[in-house]
Homo-oligomer: 178 residues x 2
DNA sequence: CGCCGCATGGACTACATGGTCCCGCTCGGC
DNA sequence: GCCGAGCGGGACCATGTAGTCCATGCGGCG
């Protein structure tokens, strides 16, 4: 679903990819909609798990740069294709399945929360100025990340993603204490 | 297609919306794929036309703020739903129709070009520092815009879009001459 | 005024795809 | 070792959708 898009993925594709049969599918999921929701939930859990590992110890600007580098490098492997696991689902499902949209919205909030928590640690340790707003900075970083993913996916080139994240990092940098 | 998504839009929907018949459809377009490509091209032309109007005279930071406000206000009308006319098409088609992807990529480049041209004018008139890179700033603005659209669409709330664009504008501001 | 040609509408077809169901196999209990 | 229950496999069905085709009516020309 990540590669082909949710709507272009048939249950036969799912069957083939999972080495199961239709009846097993319908044992676990009442219909395709529920299956998609499960996919969304699983993907969200997976991404958040990974990001938790990458961000729970974030406490310096260098850490943020490393975070950026890891995401860019990961995306470079496929030349930007398919975009962000959550972002591409969001783009396709937001106006189609309100429940999926809600799950994705929560996931983004949580993802931004991980960033915000790290930024707050930086603020508490005096790395970041007191007038910085960790939540807003986190939202800005997430938007730059998602926008970067989309432009990279469209251009088949990760440059725009790098530029976007660098812009967001520069913005954070402007709140560093001298 | 903008509202329901490309793949969820049937030719019957198209027929109904256009008050025509199947034969007329197939008179003009060999198949659905070509129809979609025509939609992409038309949408891109429309957005670029609008943005040309909004950006061709851009030559001050205030102008950039007005540009931001216009986009936010436009998106607020639908509570962020459906996202960017180009962005949502890009998200759905980028990994499905290479020709559509290419068209969209060109459109984004042109859109960024309009921004870059305005920024260059600001630079030439001394509003923007000489070491600013108009192309990179334009890409950053576009990424913030697209990321903002996506987060707003997912959250059904335009706040993230505002925050993202404000971040990008702040970044541009950091290149203003004192 | 009538006839011919062609665009048009919308019924029709083939097919893909979501969803159901029954047969057979396996595994557990007696 | 045999029997029965329950699970899994994949054939099957119904439906919606992309794409085709022919009867109809309208306009243009003689």
């Amino acid at each position: 679903m990540y590669v082909k898009g949710v709507n272009a993925t048939t249950l036969d594709d799912v069957r083939a990819a999972s080495n199961t049969s239709k009846s097993q599918l319908y044992n676990h999921f009442p219909d395709k909609e529920e299956l998609v929701r499960a996919v969304v939930a699983a993907r969200a859990a997976q991404v958040l798990e990974r990001e938790r590992g990458n961000l729970q110890r974030l406490k310096s600007f260098r850490g943020l740069v490393r975070w950026r580098d890891a995401l860019v490098q990961r995306n470079a492997l496929q030349n930007g294709a398919y975009g962000c696991a959550l972002g591409s689902l969001a783009g396709e499902l937001a106006d189609q399945d309100d429940q999926a949209r809600a799950t994705l919205a929560e996931s983004f909030v949580e993802w931004e929360g991980l960033l915000a928590a790290g930024l707050r640690r930086m603020q508490e340790s005096g790395v970041l100025k007191p007038d910085a707003d960790p939540e807003k900075l986190a939202t800005g970083l997430m938007a730059a990340l998602q926008g970067g993913y989309l432009l990279a996916e469209t251009a088949h080139d990760i440059k725009p993603m790098e530029i976007a994240l660098d812009m967001a990092l520069d913005h954070v940098k402007s709140f560093l204490t001298a």
